[in-house]
């Protein structure tokens, strides 16, 4: 049943990651907006934080639902794998639960205590544990995933697990780059998603300064985190070259081990020869080792049945292209808005801004599919094949249909409810109600 289990895992995780990314990134954005609001004494930023928080409650709730689903599904669909993993990598999974507790408790408190404190700063403090809890939960789960890619901290003796060291297993070589990349992409994506919303409101006729402030703030954050993402992504490439060279080679259609290797972007594969591709000389060697002379191991050095599917090339390229584009685009916007270039308020430019959120989300999907499919045929690299980990139950097909239906409903529900909520209570109306439009300085 490995195939069906893979489909269901893929479906649930791809859906969960949308909400999880927002869940990790948006609390930080709310924090920054509220902080700026308190510092500048600007009602707009405070309201921005408040309105984001309202939407955030809804995405969190769906994140909790889908997260619970994937958490239980790991044991339901991969019982053999979880039995083994439970022995070695249960610690971060267990710690993650405490991070959830922490986040859920303080989120409840934060949401239900707006204006309850005299001092705004006290309320702001409540947000710190929310952001920390969300980030910690993604760190812990990413540690589990790192272990699947670079397992260590145990020995296998006659089929038995011995010498287990939970801490060694937790800190596998994949951890630093993976955790950093996951966090920075979550912040980056959340910033762009919020920027998309602000840009969309500006497109739809609302010319309020509130939206302009929101857009400028989120684009600045998007720029910072997309540059960080690209830098960390470069380190991820170096990690792959050292510990999972087959993944990097498959991503780059790199067959012969050689130095001064070129980077291949897109194209189609004809035998072992990429065609119609963009080729960047030396770039692969630089990505892998930092110098043009670096030697990159090719696919022909690996046994046939341990090579990941070659179509992950497109996933890798999609991620990198989108990453480069978003860094470039937000740079143009920030410089343009700062220097007053007229192009940033053009309609086509606004449309591109609206697109940035969905594109970042697409990059997240491409990135995860790339790592996960790129790990094939292993579920635990070098120790357990995916087919050995799967359940033997025959009813997975039915569950796929059931959960697909659920995710469609949850997805549509999120969009409908969020858009209705903001439409019924537009920002102009709320600002008028509060009657304390101080404005703050122009941005």
């Amino acid at each position: 049943m490995a195939f069906q289990s893979r489909i269901l895992t893929l479906m649930t995780l791809s859906f969960h990651i949308i909400y999880a990314t927002i869940g990790v990134g948006v609390p930080l954005m709310i924090m920054i907006a509220q902080w700026v609001g308190i510092r500048k004494n600007d009602e707009h930023y405070i309201l921005l934080a408040r309105r984001w928080a309202r939407g955030f409650v809804i995405t969190v709730a769906v994140g909790v639902v889908t997260g619970t689903a994937i958490g239980l599904q790991l044991s339901l669909l991969w019982p053999n794998f979880m039995q083994m993993a439970g022995n070695v990598i249960a610690l971060p999974l267990f710690m993650e639960v405490f991070a959830f507790f922490f986040e859920a408790i303080f989120l409840g408190i934060y949401l239900y205590t707006w204006d309850r404190f005299e001092d705004q700063r006290k309320h702001f403090l409540l947000l710190i544990p929310v952001a920390l809890g969300a980030a910690a939960s993604s760190v812990f789960i990413t540690i589990v995933n790192s272990f699947m890619n670079a397992p260590q901290g145990f020995d296998v003796l006659n089929g038995e697990l011995v010498n287990v060291s939970p801490l060694l297993a937790m800190f596998s070589p994949a951890v630093p780059t993976k955790v950093a990349h996951v966090l920075s992409t979550a912040f980056m994506t959340s910033a762009f998603v919020l920027a998309s919303i602000a840009a969309y409101r500006l497109m739809r006729g609302s010319n309020h300064i509130y939206h302009k402030k929101a857009l400028f703030l989120t684009m600045k954050l998007g720029l910072v985190f997309s540059v960080a993402t690209a830098i960390i992504g470069d380190f991820s490439g170096k990690y792959l070259a050292e510990y999972q060279p087959e993944k990097l080679a498959a991503a780059e259609w790199h067959f012969e081990t050689e130095s001064e290797a070129e980077l291949v972007l897109f194209g189609v594969l004809d035998g072992e020869e990429p065609k119609y591709a963009i080729r960047i000389p030396y770039a692969l060697s630089i990505l892998a080792h930092g110098v043009p002379s670096g030697e990159v191991i090719g696919l022909n050095d690996f046994p046939e049945d341990e090579i990941p599917p070659l179509w992950i090339h497109y996933l890798f390229d999609t991620m990198v292209t989108l990453g480069m584009w978003l860094a470039f685009f937000s740079f143009v916007y920030v410089v343009g808005a700062w220097r007053g270039w007229p192009i940033v308020t053009r309609k086509w430019f606004r449309w591109l801004t609206v697109l940035s959120g969905p594109l970042a989300m697409l990059a997240i999907q491409a990135g995860w599919w790339f790592t996960e499919v790129g790990r094939q045929p292993w579920i635990l690299r070098g120790y357990m094949k995916t087919s050995e980990g799967a359940t033997t139950s025959g009813q997975v097909d039915l569950m796929i249909v059931m959960f697909a239906g659920l995710y469609v409903i949850l997805g549509i529900g999120t969009v409908v409810v969020l858009s209705r909520m903001y439409k019924r209570n537009p920002v102009e109306k709320e600002l008028a109600q509060r009657e304390s439009v101080k404005g703050g300085e122009e941005s």
Binding site: T68, S75, L77, A90, D115, S165, Q395, G413
Partner: protein, 342 residues
């Protein structure tokens, strides 16, 4: 105490906490739907929104804690229970999704108060205990076959088993009873006379079925799993204590006195019964295949998990205290005088 015992006690304690907080949540949803159905709608809605909305995610984490923790301490359970529970657990997940999305879409969001949604939310509260509790029946043994080394569930035996059905009925009755007793106290604190009367009546109605089915199950076990039955009888004094606590709760509710104490006694009643049941199940996690000893993780992992647990608890307890102080023990909030929702 061995590491195995510490592990299972921690898990059992958190499962117990989940049973209590989730029962409150599930039952409240059902009562809400029922009053919508009988046109008494607004009596309960306010109370449910004020208490349940801020805490349901925390409730959910107790569940996650249990199924993540059991894989950590007893990894072999993943193999036995993971393989066999695919269908019932997936159904439970869908039902949990109905509840989570109700909070997301109907109470926080655009306030979609479509009746169908309220009914679905209410119904999921009854179906969830029915979907989760058969695990207890399965753990008694006799419903799982090993074919070529792979476990599979014997659905026919399960669905024709009186034991399974009594456990299901008990779980539903208990959910409604626990929830009604809690809500009586909460509504009384909120100073809402009408709501108090309504839920007090529910508490009295569901007390009977709870105790009758609970007793019934003990006798079912005599036929199904004599070993477990004998262990249960050895612990008769704990069940007797539990019964006395039960009488105390019913008495207080009936006399309209001291609802807070009534709820505490109820927690005591379930605590003693739950732990007596758990202790008599010892050492089996699944009769007769799996005990806590042969499924236990390695020693270094066990110690690491226990250390993480203690550290986590140090973080968790103060936070929970803060949460309850704000939403359960704050008079103005409970009475709905202050509304600070974002």
């Amino acid at each position: 105490m061995t590491l195995e015992i510490i592990g299972i006690s921690v898990l059992w304690l958190f499962l117990f906490l989940y049973v209590i907080v989730a029962s409150i949540d599930f039952g409240a949803g059902f009562f809400n739907a029922y009053s919508a159905f009988s046109d008494k709608q607004h009596i309960l809605t306010g109370i449910i929104q004020r208490y349940l909305s801020p805490v349901w995610e925390v409730t959910n984490v107790f569940f996650v804690f249990f199924f993540v923790g059991i894989i950590g301490f007893f990894p072999q359970t993943a193999f036995y229970y993971g393989t066999t529970l695919l269908v019932p657990a997936s159904i439970a997940l869908i039902l949990l999704a109905v509840r989570g999305s109700y909070y997301a879409f109907a109470t926080y969001g655009a306030k979609i108060n479509h009746r169908g949604y309220i009914y679905m939310y209410g119904l999921s509260g009854l179906l969830l205990p029915a979907a989760l509790s058969p695990v207890l029946a399965i753990s008694e043994g006799g419903f799982m076959r090993l074919e070529g080394g792979q476990p599979s569930l014997d659905y026919w035996a399960l669905f024709t088993s009186p034991l399974m059905w009594s456990i299901v009925v008990l779980s539903i009755a208990a959910v409604l009873y626990i929830s009604a007793v809690f809500l009586t106290w909460y509504a009384w604190k909120a100073g809402d006379e009408k709501a108090t009367q309504l839920v007090r009546k529910y508490a009295l109605i569901w007390a009977g079925p709870t105790i009758v089915t609970a007793t019934g199950i003990i006798f079912e076990l005599r036929g199904h799993n004599p070993e477990h039955y004998a262990n249960l009888l050895d612990l008769w004094w704990m069940f007797a204590l539990s019964f006395l606590l039960f009488l105390g709760t019913v008495f207080l509710i009936w006399k309209k006195r001291n609802y807070g104490l009534a709820f505490i006694l109820l927690v005591g009643q379930f605590f003693t019964a739950f732990f007596a049941y758990g202790a008599s199940h010892y050492p089996y996690l699944l009769y007769p295949h799996l005990t806590i000893y042969d499924s236990f993780t390695n020693e270094s992992m066990a110690i690491a998990l226990i250390i993480a647990f203690i550290a986590g608890l140090g973080l968790l307890l103060p936070s929970l205290y803060l949460l309850f102080r704000l939403f359960l023990f704050d008079k103005d909030y409970v009475k709905g005088k202050s509304d600070y929702h974002a």
